[in-house]
């Protein structure tokens, strides 16, 4: 059974033309998905819809069979979905560990020894103790991205959404991060959805959805929907 399902989902900003139109995707636990497409195809918008930050103009998104619109979306975001934002969205006045701890606290889950878990997660993404105690603005883009990944994993969500999660990482770290996502899906039965331009990422996932841009041409019907990319 799919944990997340899109049924005929359309989205348009204000009264302008649709960004997304008639999407029908299914996401299951234990798999890694990649959503690919050109710039402006609506990848980030789709991620926002999946993370419950916004609602579709029409159609429904089902989480565990329930319409996301009707459930407590704060609880959905804080407990069931871990998001790695493209711009990381970390709090600058906190250090790396504190940012990770904050998410654990926001989830409302009873997580003992948050500091230890946060430190371990940061070590997993190759941030040592010294770096994990630095304020966010004193970390490089790649380091910030790793903090964002650690934060998304910290409260053990069912679904992990990542927007260009390897965009700022070197090749070695990219591979490590992809490995982490694959392990989470295959060993810990998580549903991992990655939004990426990277063909390496697309090549290493279980399924790929390609979004065709609706802004430049009417190629929606030609777009591959729900098919195997490679």
């Amino acid at each position: 059974m799919s944990i997340l399902e899109l049924k005929d989902v359309c989205y348009a900003y204000d009264s302008r033309a649709k960004v997304l139109d008639g999407l029908n995707y299914k996401f299951e636990k234990g798999k890694v998905y990649a959503i690919v497409g050109r710039s402006g195809a609506g990848k980030t918008t789709l991620l926002s819809l999946l993370s419950g930050l916004t609602s579709p103009t029409s159609g429904v998104i089902l989480f565990d069979g329930k319409d996301v619109k009707t459930i407590d979306r704060y609880k959905y975001r804080s407990r069931h979905v871990g998001v790695v934002f493209q711009q990381f969205n970390l709090l600058p006045h906190l250090n790396a560990v504190e940012n990770v701890e904050l998410s654990m606290r926001a989830s409302g889950k009873k997580i003992p020894d948050k500091r230890k878990i946060a430190t371990e997660l940061l070590e997993k993404v190759d941030l040592d103790d010294q770096l994990s105690k630095r304020r966010i603005l004193k970390l490089s883009g790649g380091e910030q991205q790793r903090v964002a990944i650690a934060r998304a994993l910290s409260y053990d969500p069912d679904i992990i959404l990542a927007d260009e999660p390897t965009g700022n990482l070197d090749l070695n770290t990219q591979e490590e991060v992809i490995d982490i996502f694959n392990r989470l899906a295959h060993e810990e039965n998580k549903c991992v959805i990655l939004v990426s331009h990277s063909s390496e990422v697309a090549a290493s996932v279980d399924e790929v959805y390609e979004l065709a841009s609706l802004r430049k041409s009417k190629r929606r019907k030609e777009a591959i929907t729900g098919g195997q990319f490679i």
Partner: protein, 544 residues
């Protein structure tokens, strides 16, 4: 927990912003603290003062009511012309109460103490001269026939038994006191025994106190005897033994006042016990002769005493209850119970009340300006922290919790700086309030002096004197009425409270914290509205 931890981290990490808010709160707290302390001290001084003063009241004829009643009777009869006969009749019907009647009323449970005094005017004899007299022949006939001229408008004046009789003003005023409580000038310190001792007020021995001036003028000393005569019958004399000599500070600054006779001079006041004086008036009445004057009026040569009395009450409630009781006990509506103590005390608080009003206005201004500044700072603060709101709500923190975090931050800063502000306020409230109070008194004194100068009176140094240090002294013991006020201090003297104990106590701290909470809630309301309006996706997208 999330809210509290986030709030604490934010406070610690954003020092500059929070110190700015803190300084504003500190200024508000310190000035509010001073204002509240002044208000509180003024209220406490008023309450404690009214509670602690002994209220003295006197029963006297309500002449205004008598006149009004006579006038009403005239209106209904002959074309509105006052009926002088009925007026005279009413006047003679409602005379001042006798000592026996007053003593009967004093039995009331509401009366804490009752004392009285009587004064007579006696003349010099051979070898004794009144202080300040050019000759002994300055006495004059009092054609009003009813006691000494009392202080106009003083409600305490209790005229003596008037009626038919001829009263000649002598050179001395001899006052007999029923108790030491009645000797208000000695209690207030205006008069002080410098030699000898006090007479026994319960004794009818002919012992007396004379003023230092009179003693020096006649070369008298303790143990000497003086002989005084009935001004209406020179051969009717009374001998007193000087048991003490007193100094009277008011006699030195009353020289400019116009007097009807030398007996009005405080230096010519001779004090004795009421019983001793009673024996004089009793004897005089027994040997008096009656003559008919040129107008056919019968006149007695007896020395007439004028009675002054005072009921002392433990509280204002007792005073009011006694007033009500007098009516139920059948005292005519033409008699009234009056006291100047409460109004005197309230007058003494006038500068303090002005200061309290000023403090209240200052408090309101500070609070309004403070609230506006805090709201503006908060609005800017929240706009600056929009991204934080976006991130927190994006990771699933509810908007309510985010708003609560901001309110908690502000509340913590406010409380911290209110405590510091209270400390500052505590340190400065006493000197500031006393400084402001003394300026207020000085201003009132200057105003009074100017008024006196305009009316051609001597300088105002005797009019308004600042009170002593305790800060909660009542305005002074009530004078016994018109008679006493002639010899005693000026009853218009108001002793202003010079110092107040404007300390910061627990209730003030409670009020300050209340102010802090209200300011926080008002100023963070804007923050809450902003937070509630923000959508995380919009914030994060705009930032991108």
């Amino acid at each position: 927990m999330l809210v509290l931890i986030n709030a604490m981290k934010s406070i610690v990490r954003s020092k500059g912003r929070n110190i700015l808010i803190g300084i504003i709160v500190l200024a508000i707290a310190a000035s509010s603290c001073v204002a509240l302390a002044i208000r509180n001290a003024a209220n406490e001084a008023e309450t404690a003062g009214v509670d602690s003063i002994n209220i003295t009241g006197t029963i006297s004829v309500d002449r205004e009511k008598l006149m009004a009643s006579a006038q009403n009777a005239a209106d209904s009869t002959e074309g509105g012309r006052p009926d002088m006969d009925s007026m005279r009749e009413m006047m003679s019907q409602y005379q001042d109460l006798s000592l026996l009647e007053l003593q009967a009323y004093s039995e009331s449970d509401y009366v804490k103490n009752f004392y009285y005094s009587a004064s007579v005017s006696l003349n010099t004899t051979e070898g004794l001269e009144a202080y300040g007299s050019e000759s002994s022949s300055d006495s004059f006939d009092d054609s009003t026939g009813g006691g000494f001229p009392g202080e106009a408008g003083n409600p305490g004046g209790q005229g003596g038994p008037g009626g038919p009789g001829r009263m000649t003003m002598g050179d001395f005023t001899v006052t007999g006191y029923s108790a030491e409580d009645a000797m208000s000038k000695f209690i207030s310190g205006t008069s002080q025994i410098t030699d000898g001792e006090m007479f026994d007020t319960a004794s009818s021995d002919m012992n007396c106190l004379v003023s230092k001036e009179l003693a020096a003028f006649n070369g008298l000393s303790v143990g000497d005897k003086i002989t005084l005569a009935n001004p209406n019958a020179e051969d009717e004399t009374y001998e007193f033994t000087i048991i003490g000599i007193y100094a009277d500070s008011s006699s030195s600054n009353t020289g400019d006042q116009m007097r009807f006779s030398t007996s009005m001079d405080p230096a010519n006041l001779i004090c004795t016990s009421y019983d001793a004086l009673q024996s004089v008036t009793d004897n005089s009445a027994s040997v008096a002769t009656t003559q008919t004057d040129d107008f056919g009026n019968e006149q007695s040569t007896a020395v007439m005493g004028q009675l002054s009395s005072a009921f002392v009450f433990g509280s204002q409630d007792d005073y009011e209850a006694f007033d009500a009781e007098l009516t139920t006990n059948g005292l005519s509506e033409y008699y009234t119970l009056s006291s100047s103590d409460v109004s005197n005390y309230e007058s003494s608080l006038l500068p303090l009340k002005n200061l309290s009003n000023f403090a209240t206005t200052m408090l309101l201004v500070v609070l309004v300006i403070g609230a506006v500044i805090l709201i503006v700072i908060n609005v800017f603060n929240i706009r600056e922290r929009k991204y934080e709101v976006g991130v927190l709500t994006a990771i699933g923190v509810k908007k309510g919790k985010v708003a609560m975090q901001f309110v908690t931050e502000l509340l913590c800063i406010t409380l911290l700086f209110i405590i510091i502000g209270a400390g500052v306020g505590m340190a400065v409230s006493v000197p500031i309030s006393n400084n402001l109070l003394s300026s207020q008194i000085e201003q009132m004194n200057t105003q009074a002096e100017n008024e006196n100068a305009n009316f051609g009176r001597p300088g105002g140094d005797q009019n308004f004197q600042p009170g002593g240090g305790s800060g909660l002294q009542p305005g002074g013991r009530g004078d016994m009425g018109g008679m006493m006020s002639v010899f005693g201090g000026d009853p218009s003297n108001v002793t202003y409270l010079e110092k107040i104990n404007a300390t910061v106590n627990l209730p003030i701290m409670g009020q300050l914290i209340g102010i802090g909470i209200i300011l926080t809630l008002i100023s963070s309301l804007s923050a809450v509205i902003f937070v509630m309006r923000y959508e995380p996706l919009k914030i994060l997208t705009n930032r991108t």
